[in-house]
């Protein structure tokens, strides 16, 4: 019992360390640096410690320090409690989603089965959606409580965009669930050990639609109408400063990692390397003993998983710096009139194909 708890705790600390401690600060740097490289600029490289700039990596530290020491500003007429509460409501779901995301398979370490997921829930994928639906409140309340016209416009846009794409996001992965017959993310990952059963081959349309809906749900460019700087200043977080402002960004970046992880698990073979089953890998390192081989394979799998995640983060960044922002009615049209009927059709077509094959 105690060992189980300790293992769970270690996994939680690892995940929180990776998301909050590594990805969230690093992605602020990546976003600037990648856009700079893409647009033939040098980009962030001014912050230095003793003249040493480390490619501008210290900007992440400088940003964090600056945000901590900024004034916590609450405008007049704003609801103080809700204004303070909303960034908390926005961040918690972003972190909590990772509780069901597996980052490796099951390994036999020191005579004990270690499953590299914090909570192996039976309703894993639904848990992700449930948590995502709670995240809406953080943004809506943020705009509403600020007593600012821009914020209110932003929060109305956020609310209708997020709820529209929540439905679509749910319906686009029905096809995947039909193919794999499970909602448990660990099971879906384990099935994809077989390269021919990767989700991208079985559900290419589902992948495209899910990625679109997920980016829209995360409110990133090209779907960043809720925070459109050039239209409504910064939308729902116009009146936020300091770390409260940073927390909205943090949740956006963590959600980006979440999306990449879910896409990897559902469509790109999770932690598996194509054509290399876990058994093959284990047989290669047989000399190291059971625990040693398992440990090595575990490290390889976690590395592969995060490499895939990083690839999808890179892809989202590329999309963000390539495509212009959609108009508001275009976003709603895409969600309700194109993705929704298309995903229903996808469900029917998948059903027919599966029935024919059986």
């Amino acid at each position: 019992m105690i060992t189980e708890l300790l293992i769970t705790l270690a996994k939680i600390l690892f995940i929180i360390g990776v998301t909050v401690g590594f990805f969230a600060p690093i992605l602020t740097w990546v976003e600037r640096k990648q856009s700079a490289i893409m647009q033939d600029r040098i980009g962030a490289n001014r912050a230095d410690i003793l003249g040493f700039t480390a490619l501008g990596l210290f900007h992440a530290i400088a940003d964090a320090l600056k945000m901590f020491t900024k004034e916590d500003f609450i405008p007049e007429g704003a609801n103080k409690i809700l204004h303070t509460l909303s960034p908390i409501i926005a961040v918690i779901p972003a972190i909590l989603t990772f509780a069901v995301v597996p980052f490796g398979g099951v390994y036999n370490l020191f005579g004990r089965e270690v499953n590299l997921v914090i909570s192996d829930l039976d309703v894993g994928l639904l848990f992700v959606f449930a948590i995502a639906s709670i995240a809406t409140y953080g943004y809506v309340i943020a705009g509403w409580s600020s007593n600012n016209n821009w914020s209110l416009l932003g929060s109305m846009r956020t609310a209708s965009q997020m709820i529209s794409y929540e439905v679509t996001m749910g319906l686009t992965i029905i096809g995947v669930l039909m193919v794999y017959g499970s909602m448990r993310l660990t099971e879906i990952g384990a099935i994809q050990e077989d390269f021919s059963r990767w989700g991208i081959f079985l559900q290419p349309l589902g992948f495209l639609m899910f990625l679109t809906a997920a980016i829209a749900e995360n409110k990133r460019i090209p779907f960043d109408n809720p925070e459109a700087e050039s239209e409504i200043v910064a939308g729902y977080f116009t009146e936020y400063s300091g770390l409260k402002f940073g927390m909205f960004f943090m949740s956006e970046f963590i959600e980006m990692v979440t999306i990449s992880a879910i896409v990897t698990i559902l469509f790109f073979g999770a932690w598996h390397i194509p054509f290399l089953t876990t058994a093959t890998l284990l047989s290669w390192f047989e000399i190291l003993g059971t625990t040693g081989a398992n440990l090595l394979v575990m490290l390889i799998h976690v590395g592969v998983f995060f490499a895939k995640v990083i690839f999808f983060i890179w892809m989202q960044m590329t999309i963000r710096w390539t495509l212009p922002r959609f108009r508001y009615d275009q976003i709603m049209k895409l969600g309700w009139k194109i993705l929704l009927p298309l995903s229903l059709t996808n469900v029917l077509v998948t059903g027919i194909v599966i029935l024919m094959l059986h």
Partner: protein, 168 residues
């Protein structure tokens, strides 16, 4: 062990439920209601109803409360409205709700005493999972399932008729 988790959760839910009624500002009430729904979902999960717990979060806390939030934000009720205050002293309503609450409490207490609490029912490991619920829903309860779709259709038509009617 289960009781150790149940009582804080139940207390949390009850406190938030009280918060819904006592709160002066409508949006505060709505937030309390969301918190209560989440607490309820926790209790469902404790009773091994995993699928229902998740549905509680998705449908009630995630969807229906968004609707409530929209209504509050659209109407933008002020925290201390004069009409709102006037309702506080409606004696008939107070008496009626008190009787109703007492009736419900009586029923709850009698139901509790009917059950034998010493030996809780044993449930299989798969109890409450999505697969098991789906199995019953799509074989034994096909007709209610299809009727539900017609109900949803009616609601959809109703919403559009209400929202799209031109007043002039």
């Amino acid at each position: 062990m289960e009781l150790l988790i149940f009582y804080p959760l139940a207390g949390f839910s009850l406190m938030l439920a009280l918060g819904v009624v006592m709160n002066k500002s409508p949006i505060g009430s709505a937030l309390c209601l969301i918190g209560m729904m989440l607490g309820l979902a926790g209790i469902f999960a404790l009773q091994q109803a995993h699928f229902i717990a998740i549905l509680q979060v998705i449908i009630y806390a995630g969807a229906i409360m968004v609707l409530f939030m929209f209504v509050i934000m659209l109407l933008n009720l002020k925290g201390t409205d004069t009409k709102w205050r006037a309702r506080e002293r409606n004696t008939l309503l107070t008496v009626l709700t008190t009787f109703l609450a007492l009736g419900v409490l009586y029923k709850v207490i009698t139901v509790i005493f009917e059950f034998n609490l010493d030996s809780p029912a044993k449930v299989p490991d798969t109890f409450g999972t999505a697969a098991v619920i789906g199995e019953t829903l799509f074989t034994d309860f096909v007709l209610p399932f299809e009727v539900a779709s017609i109900l949803l259709l009616a609601a959809m038509v109703g919403a559009v008729v209400l929202a799209k009617t031109k007043l002039d």
